[in-house]
Assembly symmetry: C2
Homo-oligomer: 109 residues x 2
């Protein structure tokens, strides 16, 4: 992904992380690694941690500290009811966007 992706990620990355958490609880380091495997090569660690702090403060996730076999304890996040509502709203907006963009793309090249 190029630098263009940086700006396109804004607002979308939060939805991505919430979607990940809706599948199963996860911790920051794990999420960052997973994103990088998926091709989001230049996602900065700090970006994910900051995002997790934000969604926690907005009450979209629950947190639990879990000791790790290697390294410091993990902060495991899981999506709560409010987070699930927010995710639903995200998918709605995302669908709207993809529909409009698909139309535009067909319209020409």
């Amino acid at each position: 992904m190029g630098k263009q992706a940086t700006e396109m990620l804004k607002g979308v990355l939060e939805g991505i992380v919430l979607a990940i958490l809706s599948a199963r609880p996860a911790y920051g380091y794990e999420i960052t690694s997973w994103l990088r495997e998926q091709g989001f090569a230049d996602i900065a660690e700090g970006t994910v941690y900051a995002l997790l702090v934000r969604v926690e403060q907005r009450g979209l996730v629950d947190v639990e500290k879990v000791p790790s076999e290697k390294g410091p304890p993990r902060k495991v996040y899981s999506l709560n009811a409010q987070g699930r509502d927010h995710l639903t709203e995200f998918w709605r907006t995302w669908s709207f966007l993809t529909d409009r963009l698909a139309q535009l793309r067909e319209g020409q090249g």
Copy 2:
């Protein structure tokens, strides 16, 4: 669209406007009206004009001043070669994002 869309638009809105311009030249007021018809209800006028200034400064569009039948002269923008390249790159990044998101969405709800 809710407030959530505001942040999701970042980076995407530029692609949308370039896509519009790739179909035919257009001026700011026209683009804003069209976007609102398409359901982008809360796009601020200032946002579109600022975006057009940016893409002009980056040399992605050509500008021509055209007198209007009613009101002040229009600044008509058209996509140039560099803009077309940029748009191609935008579609590539957009495809990447939609693929990843579609996968995530299938993965669960």
